[in-house]
Symmetry: C2
Subunit: 447 residues, 2 copies
């Protein structure tokens, strides 16, 4: 029989312990930050019926990117490509009993059939944080503040990223009232805006002309130029500047300032792909020249819960991703050094000491110390090498003498220093280190 | 348009915050316990190529229970139904660089197309803990000890469950040398043993006769009766009692006793479904009359890594599941009361106080307190009702007077008592509670 491949499925990653530590660090910061704002965790199924996405998630996602199949019971199902429809379904199911405002979050894996690239895999992990039941713009402000607070918790400064903000209501007014586009033209124009940063200026203009059609083109292009030139809500062309969505944006920016979000800016070209957004939309952009792109976004989607037969409920949410966050942290030098969660490696100096070393490990664990026992009886330098490779901070040497005298040599694998300690001193020594190392703490703080 | 169903996909669960807290409590105990033994976390992809399971996972699982489909690139893939093949693949891929003994764990979701029942869902969560690179029976003893330690960490006493242990080597000797069965007969007999507790004594005998065939039946049944009657390794019939696998079991039980595992027992009828086991196999059984069944198991599978073209590596592992654990804890009254991770609900007494309350919430969060702000301006009794429903331990009332005097009323939602505090006292009051409530701590300790 020919042997099986050791490769992971295309576009997915194997997380070995050193990679998983980074993942856990990011998950830990996410969970701690959203919990500070009172968000509570939920979990949703991996599979959903196809129609849950067909309604509002957008044609590209459903038609080209879903992992869909027919189960053994003939149901058309999809591996979830995003969380918003699932949590909307869950809220609709408990519409009556839920306490509002409902602040909810999850950290989960998703799949989309896309071309894998840096920061984008077919299986990916996201935080989803959503607030249900608040019509007021204070909810939009809170979600954006939460995103900003997560960035700060990772050590990011205001210069490292910007928050771009737009409004679906303003986009609609712009498309229909200002540019005089019919619904089909408008939807094409929205898609063109969405691609704006990825195509040349010429290509943008040519495609815009095509959408306007020859009769509308000249006037349309002039208006378009005015729109794109507007750098803030105060410089929008006259007719649009009067729209109530502009007032709403003004109030939002004021709340953001009082929440210490100083790097938010209006961006008329920001569209967001999903069809379900109904109000404010936003994206967090990395400003680093090596990684100048959108990291994550979100917005208001007041209509989604209503699709499940319940009365509509206001909703605002966002979804930062793991890989993008990892790229951001690496690019800005913000990823901390992360040691093993194992605190001490118990090396055994001979067969006669295995039982004694094993009992010592049991006592260490009873004191809350994470202790790994090497019962392979390999040469001591091999045991040391293993502990160093595993990035375990301490090695404890246990032989017959040590067991008799109840004094043990503790080696610091980073500094190389070695000290002899009683059991009690061992424990306090190892615990001291834990409290000094914030990043190890992070690992202890989360799953 | 007719509205979408709010039901979750058949055999899957929606975890609302109160359910998710239980899940997090169980995940937290799992992660903390295995980390105490030096196990490090990894993550594997959701999908694997079909052939990874076709090799060794057993016909029933692959043929009838997998969620398999063809992806958009024409690859035959499976939503992982178990973790062992994935982690074996990962170890094979890094065969050379890995430090051994490799102690690895993951907490992940899986899918199997089965009839949903209590404690068994189509999407389910498991801890997988495995040790690679140790031939010695000490590895088997450690994995079983780890399972036992997890039970103790949940508060289980020795009477609440037993650990049943058998050996694949002994099973093979029994089938081939003692019962004189050919490979096909042996495989049918193993499956029959596996079903033993689920069928009547008569049905067991009739099916055994069928496997033996008329010529072998009489002698076979007599030998079978002797085997099944053996309650310990010391009472096995003569020829089998001499087998080296019995010596190995004897050593294993001695290690387990010195590791304080007092409720382990030999069980000749224990088989374990997977084809990949090669040595010791075990299962943890609930002894409660209302839930008298296998909870989880594991064993040694020395051949699996070698299937991926690498040199074979010894491996022992186990996989407790979430739902079975939940049923066990509920049945034995061991599930703790779990409050919200949100510590204080900031109720706002009028529109003029929103900005001040918002700033107060920011200050609380900066002190590490999890504070949820209610900016709905609903009547105060409605705000209180929301906090109580969310199981948040404290409510803070913020109005114009409070902001002016910098004294705030803090209500304990459980006792109903209310006290007035300065900001500093508020913080210490709330934090005191956190340290007193172990179960809330558990939630803070993990993701």
């Amino acid at each position: 029989m020919s042997s099986l491949s050791t490769n992971s499925y295309k576009g997915t990653r194997d997380y070995y312990p050193s990679d998983k530590r980074k993942q856990n660090y990011i998950f830990g910061v996410w969970a701690r930050t959203v919990r500070q704002f009172g968000y509570e965790e939920y979990g949703a199924p991996l599979l959903e019926p196809l129609e849950v996405y067909a309604a509002k998630s957008g044609q590209e996602l459903v038609g080209e990117q879903t992992y869909r199949f027919t189960d053994r019971g003939d149901r058309e199902v999809v591996i979830r490509p995003e969380m918003t429809p699932s949590i909307s379904r869950m809220v609709a199911a408990k519409r009556q009993e839920m306490p509002y405002p409902a602040r909810l979050f999850s950290i989960a894996n998703f799949m989309r059939y896309e071309r894998p690239q840096k920061g984008r895999e077919r299986e990916f992990w996201q935080l989803n944080a959503d607030i249900f039941g608040v019509e007021s713009i204070l909810a939009d402000a809170e979600i954006i503040t939460l995103g900003s607070q997560i960035m700060k918790a990772f050590g990011a400064t205001d210069e490292m990223y910007v928050v771009k903000i737009n409004s679906r209501n303003l986009i609609n007014a712009m498309m229909h009232d200002y540019l005089n586009l019919d619904p089909i033209q408008a939807s094409l124009m929205v898609k063109l805006f969405d691609r704006k940063d990825k195509i040349t200026h010429e290509s943008f203009r040519d495609q815009a002309i095509e959408i306007f059609g020859s009769e509308q083109a000249k006037e349309g292009l002039a208006k378009l130029a005015q729109l794109v030139a507007a750098k803030g809500i105060e410089t929008l062309p006259g007719e649009i500047a009067q729209h109530e969505a502009v007032d709403e944006l003004r109030v939002l920016f004021s709340h953001l300032r009082s929440n210490r979000v100083m790097n938010a800016q209006f961006d008329i070209t920001l569209m967001r792909g999903f069809d379900y957004y109904t109000g404010i939309v936003f994206e967090f952009f990395d400003t680093h020249p090596d990684n100048n792109r959108a990291m994550f976004g979100g917005g208001r989607y007041d209509g989604l819960v209503g699709l499940f037969g319940a009365e509509p409920i206001s909703a605002v949410g966002m979804a930062p991703g793991l890989s993008m966050t990892e790229v951001f942290l690496e690019t800005h030098g913000l990823m901390p050094e992360l040691a093993s969660t194992t605190e001490v490696y118990v090396a055994v100096l001979g067969e006669n000491s295995i039982e004694g070393a094993s009992q010592l490990a049991i006592r260490l664990r009873a004191e809350g110390v994470n202790a790994e026992l090497d019962f392979t009886l390999r040469k001591i330098d091999k045991q040391i090498k293993t502990a160093v490779k595993k990035q375990i901070p301490y090695i404890l040497f246990v032989g017959e003498n040590e067991l008799k005298q109840e004094k043990y040599n503790l080696k610091d694998t980073l500094s190389g220093t070695e000290e002899s300690h009683s059991f009690e001193r061992l424990v306090s020594r190892i615990k001291d280190r834990r409290h000094k190392h914030a990043t190890t703490d992070e690992l202890f703080d989360q799953l």
